[in-house]
Subunit: 340 residues, 2 copies
C-alpha cells in the first residue's frame, strides 16, 4: 500500500528528478519554467505534468546565482509608528509582487543600524534597495553608494538631492504652496507649522517651503515646532507643551502638519487634553491622506500622495536597464475635509 504517513519535507526535488520523470533533459525542465523559453508545447506539457506530480518548483537561489539577477528588492523601513507606512507597504508589496519582484523587509532600528541593514540586503544580492524610512541621511547614503553593492538605490516618497539615488516622490514644494494658499484663502492668519525630525536637509523641504512662502506672500513669520519622530504619541506630547496655557490671542488659528501622523496626534491632544474644538478653535492640516484621515473622527484636510502611480513608476524603473536619471516628482491632490 502507498505509505500515507505525514507529508515529508519536499524541498529536495530538483530539475533532474522532473527530467527523468518527463523523459527530457534537465535543461528542458528549467526552460519550461522560464517565460522567455524556447520550448515546444509538447515537452512543456510533459514537464508541467511531471513537475506537478513531484511537486517541483525551481530554486530561485540557484537561478539567481547563475544569472546574476535575484528579482529581489530590499525594503528598508524604520518608522513603524507612522500609519502611512502601512499604506505604503501594502501598495508597494502588492504592485511589486504582481511584477514578479520579491521583497526583503528590513527593519532599520536606528541611524547607526542603517549601515548594517544595507549590508544585510547586499548579502542577499538584491537587485535594488528601496528606502522608505527617515533615518537615511546623506551620510548613510554615501556609505551605501560607496560600497556600491546595489544596482539601484531608490528613495521612495521622499525627495533626495543625491545624484546617485533615484528619488520617487510627491512634489513637496508645489504641495506646500498649495496648502499655504488654501490656508490663507480660508482666512487663517496665524499658522503654526508642526515639523518632523530634522535628520537631513530633505526633511526640511516642507517646512521651509511653507515658512518661506508664507513670509514672502503673507508677511508674517509662522511659528514652528518639531517632533523627533513621525509618531502620533510623540506629536501629542509636543503639541500639548507648545499650546498649553495659551489663550485665544496667542493660540495659532491653524496647525499645519508635515504629515498625517503628526496631525492625528495633534488632533487627539487638542480635543481631549486642551479641550479645544477643531476647526473652530484651531484648524489642522496634514499630509499623506492616511485611511483614518477620511474617517468620521478626524475628517482631516490633507494632501494625498498618488501612491499607486508612484509604485507603478517604481516597478518601471526597476525593470529598466538604462542608466539615466530616473528621479521623478508626482503631483498630489489637496483633500479638503472638515479639519480646515
Amino acid at each position: 500500500m502507498p505509505d500515507e504517513k505525514k507529508p515529508a519535507f519536499a524541498g529536495n526535488i530538483t530539475a533532474d528528478d522532473v527530467a527523468a520523470e518527463a523523459g527530457v533533459s534537465r535543461w528542458t525542465v528549467n526552460r519550461a519554467f522560464r517565460k522567455d523559453a524556447s520550448i515546444s508545447s509538447k515537452s512543456l506539457e510533459k514537464v508541467r505534468i511531471a513537475a506537478e506530480r513531484l511537486g517541483y518548483v525551481p530554486d530561485l537561489r540557484a537561478a539567481s546565482l547563475a544569472s546574476d539577477r535575484s528579482n529581489l528588492v530590499a525594503l528598508l523601513i524604520d518608522d513603524f509608528a507612522n500609519p502611512h507606512k502601512l499604506v505604503m507597504m501594502e501598495r508597494l508589496t502588492r504592485i511589486l509582487r504582481r511584477e514578479g519582484w520579491d521583497i526583503l523587509l528590513v527593519n532599520t532600528l536606528d541611524r547607526a543600524d542603517a549601515g548594517h541593514a544595507l549590508l544585510n540586503a547586499s548579502q542577499r544580492r538584491v537587485d535594488a534597495v528601496i528606502l522608505i524610512g527617515i533615518q537615511f541621511d546623506d551620510e548613510v547614503l554615501d556609505t551605501a553608494l560607496h560600497a556600491r553593492r546595489f544596482r539601484k538605490l531608490i528613495i521612495f516618497a521622499r525627495t533626495s538631492r543625491n545624484p546617485n539615488t533615484i528619488s520617487i516622490a510627491v512634489d513637496d514644494v508645489h504641495a506646500m504652496k498649495e496648502i499655504a494658499n488654501y490656508v490663507h484663502e480660508r482666512g487663517f492668519r496665524r499658522p503654526m507649522f508642526l515639523a518632523g525630525p530634522r535628520t537631513s536637509s530633505a526633511h526640511l523641504l516642507r517646512k521651509e517651503t511653507f515658512v518661506d512662502y508664507w513670509r514672502q506672500h503673507f508677511g508674517s513669520e509662522p511659528e514652528t515646532v518639531s517632533v523627533s519622530a513621525y509618531d502620533p504619541t510623540l506629536a501629542a506630547g509636543i503639541v500639548e507643551n507648545a499650546l498649553a496655557g495659551r489663550n485665544k490671542a496667542t493660540l495659532p488659528d491653524i496647525l499645519v502638519c508635515e504629515n498625517d501622523a503628526l496631525a492625528i496626534g495633534a488632533t487627539d491632544v487638542i480635543r481631549h487634553k486642551l479641550g479645544l474644538r477643531i476647526p473652530q478653535d484651531i484648524a489642522i492640516t496634514g499630509f499623506d491622506d492616511v485611511p483614518q484621515a477620511e474617517g468620521a473622527n478626524y475628517r482631516l484636510t490633507t494632501y494625498r500622495q498618488p501612491l499607486t502611480d508612484m509604485a507603478e513608476y517604481l516597478v518601471k524603473v526597476l525593470g529598466s536597464e538604462e542608466d539615466r536619471d530616473f528621479d521623478r516628482l508626482f503631483q498630489g491632490k489637496l483633500m479638503i475635509r472638515d479639519s480646515a
Copy 2:
C-alpha cells in the same frame, strides 16, 4: 595601473579575490565570515583587512544553496487595514533580524492568492513561513502542508487546531472570559459582540467564547454582528447600520469587539455619526492594544497581547531542530481605560 573610475557595481567581488589579496585560500576567507569558524586570529585579521579593502561580503544565496539553510523566513500578510499589523511587523522584523533571520514579505492579495504566495516563498527556499493574515483557512493550510515545501509553518497571533502547523498565540478563551467577567462586573447587561470575518473556525473562537460564556453565566444571549474584514472603515459602516435608530432601551450598553481595528471604527461612528457618548451611552472594549488605543482619543479598554514574548518564542522555535509540538498559548493582560 588601477582604474579609478566612479564607484562601480561591486556585486562581483568574490571570496577568491579576497583570498588572493590576503594571501590565503578561498576557504579560509569564507570561514572568516562564519561564526563557528575554526580559524586563527592571524588569518582572520588578514581576511578582514582584505575584505574591507575590496568591499567584499559573502553571498548568502550561494551559502544557502550549499548548506541547505537559507536563514530566510517568509512573512505572509493580507489585511493591511488593521493597524495592529504594523505593530506585529515591527516586533517580528526587529527580533528576527537581531537573531540573524531575514524576512521575505509577501502581501497575500486574497484567499485565492494564498497558494501563489506560498509558492512564491517556497521558490526562495525559506526555512519557515509565518502567517499573520486572516485568509489562511484550513483548506489553504492543507494545500501548503501537502506540498510540504517548508520545514515549519507558523501561525502567529492566531490559534490553529491544525496539528501540522505551529501556533503561537494569546489564550483567546481565557482572555474573552476575563473580558466577559469584567464587563459584567462593571454592570453592563446587554452586550453586543462585534466580530470579524468568519473565514475559518479559528476566527470564531473569541466570539463563541464570549457568547457561550455570557449565556451560561449571565443568562442572556448577546447580540452579534460581523464585519467582513478587520478594517476600521468597514466596521464603521456595519456598526452604523446595526445601531442607527435605536433608543436607550434597545441600544446595547456595551460593544465588545473582536479586536481594536473594529473597536476604533466603531468608536468613530458612534461618536460622530450616532452622536453618542462613550462610555456613558455605550461602552466599548477591544483586543490587541494597538498604540492608538492608549491615545487621548480612544482610551480604549482592551486586551494586550504579549507580542514581544511571542516573538521571542518564535525565534526560539525557528532555531530549534527538534520536531515536537511547538504550539503555545500566551497570557495577555486586560488594559482598563476609559472606554469601558
